[in-house]
């Protein structure tokens, strides 16, 4: 019987982040970090990932699973499960309602129970939902390497291509830091999918803050509309400093549609995805403004 199974590999558990990195170093680039498993194990079954060794970091929950505010930023540990992001009061209070909307449509509840933020980001699937949220919110990834050395990279650098990240073979993602912008925040996640729990045909994460009747800050990112999660900078810049209006959001939507670069595939033709990207940007900005104005 046809059976999908990973290629032969070795398995070990990490006792700490530093231990995981020491193991990565000892294994000389032939190992991958294994967290929830819902991205890496399917890739291993398809033989798209063929690590000779997997290092299970699930025992590191006390060290790597958290959502907390430090100064003017939110810090999320890499092993934080999707269900925690979905249900977090702190995230909903700080960034209403972008995490809740995106996590509610990310995979299914069983996957969200165990799948992790770090796993989703390190899979670097350009259609993945949470990556869109982190790009829109201009999060930064903390990568730890040998000797406790840390470097902090922006999401453009982190996701430099489809299924490719800035994480080196002796590094691991430990945390994401999200600056809290000034003003009244509103954020939403628009997604169309073929069936419940699937990757997006197109998704757009939209966020803004409003101060004194004007858009003080904006974040827009598209999923499944390019080789990586796409940061819609031109549309963002267009709305900042102006009062929210339907006309303004329509223009931003047109810019996002023009700036994205979707492919035709089994999920739909490129021109359809481009049109949806524009509509979702316009609609998302409108809904985000409504959330922000509700305070």
């Amino acid at each position: 019987m046809a059976m999908q199974t990973p290629a032969p590999c070795d398995y070990s558990r990490a006792t700490s982040v530093d231990d995981a990195i020491a193991q990565l170093q000892a294994l000389g680039g032939n190992a991958r970090i294994l967290a929830g498993g819902y991205s890496l194990i399917p890739m291993m079954k398809l033989r798209l990932a063929n690590p000779g060794h997997v290092i299970d970091i699930n025992p590191l929950e006390p060290e790597l699973s958290y959502i907390r505010q430090e100064g003017n930023e939110i810090r999320i540990g890499a092993l934080t499960r999707h269900v925690m992001l979905l249900e977090s009061e702190l995230l909903e209070r700080t960034f209403p309602s972008i995490f809740r909307e995106a996590e509610a449509v990310l995979a299914d509840p069983v996957v969200r129970n165990r799948g992790t933020m770090g796993g989703s980001l390190c899979q670097a699937d350009p259609a993945e939902d949470l990556s869109g949220v982190i790009v829109a919110l201009k999060g930064q990834a903390v990568l730890r390497g040998p000797g406790g050395a840390e470097r902090v990279v922006g999401m453009e650098e982190f996701h430099f291509g489809p299924y490719m990240t800035a994480v080196q073979s002796t590094e691991m993602l430990t945390e994401v830091r999200i600056p809290i912008p000034e003003g009244s925040f509103g954020g939403v996640h628009e997604k169309v999918e073929r069936r419940a729990g699937d990757f997006a045909i197109v998704a757009v994460s939209t966020a803004m803050t409003i101060q004194g009747g004007q858009i003080a800050w904006a974040g827009i990112a598209g999923s499944a509309v390019g080789p990586t999660t796409m940061h819609m900078e031109r549309a963002e810049e267009h709305v900042v400093g102006k009062a929210p209006s339907e006309q303004l959001f329509r223009e931003a939507g047109q810019m996002a549609a023009a700036d994205c670069s979707p492919n035709s595939d089994g999920r739909g033709p490129a021109d359809y995805k481009r049109a949806v990207c524009g509509v979702f940007t316009e609609r998302g900005l409108g809904r985000a403004a409504a959330v922000a104005l509700r305070g």
Binding site: M3, T5, Y38, D56, D108, V111, G197
Partner: protein, 174 residues
């Protein structure tokens, strides 16, 4: 490598390849065939079993056993459909509900559906008040190709009501 997993209260220790998936450990090594093996791509939820995490205060939660290495389950307690009935053979309320409401035709998705259904009831603060949307969303990681889901939703509701009327039938908290 030697992998020891507690399944339904019994420890199974076997020398297996590290790449062995949990679903195959359960079916081929523990020889518990109540857990089915479906799409093998993490989509269908046929292979879902309950996993009890000793480090968590949460009730046992469903995992897709085709998307987990057996080695990853060491230290956790796995509960399959064989482990749901009470020692005297009384079925778990979710199993009674699937029987009462005729929530299966071919039965292939049933073990996964019951595992997810059991968890939905256990984690909901007021299970008899679950909306259809909450149940449908809750089982969106489980595919059924026979029933159209209606009877499955009725079965989950039936079990929630039964547990409310018979609190002693609820799974004993750790």
């Amino acid at each position: 490598m030697l992998v020891s997993i507690t399944i339904n209260g019994q420890v199974y220790s076997h020398d297996v390849e590290p790449r062995l998936l949990l679903v195959h450990f359960i079916r081929e090594y523990a020889e518990l065939h109540g857990t089915h093996w479906g799409c093998d791509t993490s989509n269908c939820g046929i292979c879902i079993v309950l996993m009890d995490d000793p480090h968590s205060s949460q009730p046992p939660y469903p995992v897709k056993s085709c998307t987990m290495l057996a080695a990853m389950a060491q230290g956790y307690e796995i509960i399959t459909v064989e482990g749901m009935p009470k020692p005297d053979g009384t079925l778990d309320p979710i199993q009674m509900g699937f029987h009462e409401m005729h929530a299966l035709q071919c039965g292939f998705c049933t073990p996964g559906m019951m595992s997810t259904g059991r968890w939905l009831i256990e984690k909901h603060p007021n299970p008899t008040q679950m909306t259809d949307h909450e149940i449908r969303d809750g089982i969106s990681g489980n595919l059924c190709r026979c029933t159209g889901y209606d009877n499955i939703i009725k079965a989950i509701r039936w079990a929630a009501a039964y547990i409310e009327e018979h609190p002693e039938s609820a799974r004993t908290a750790r």
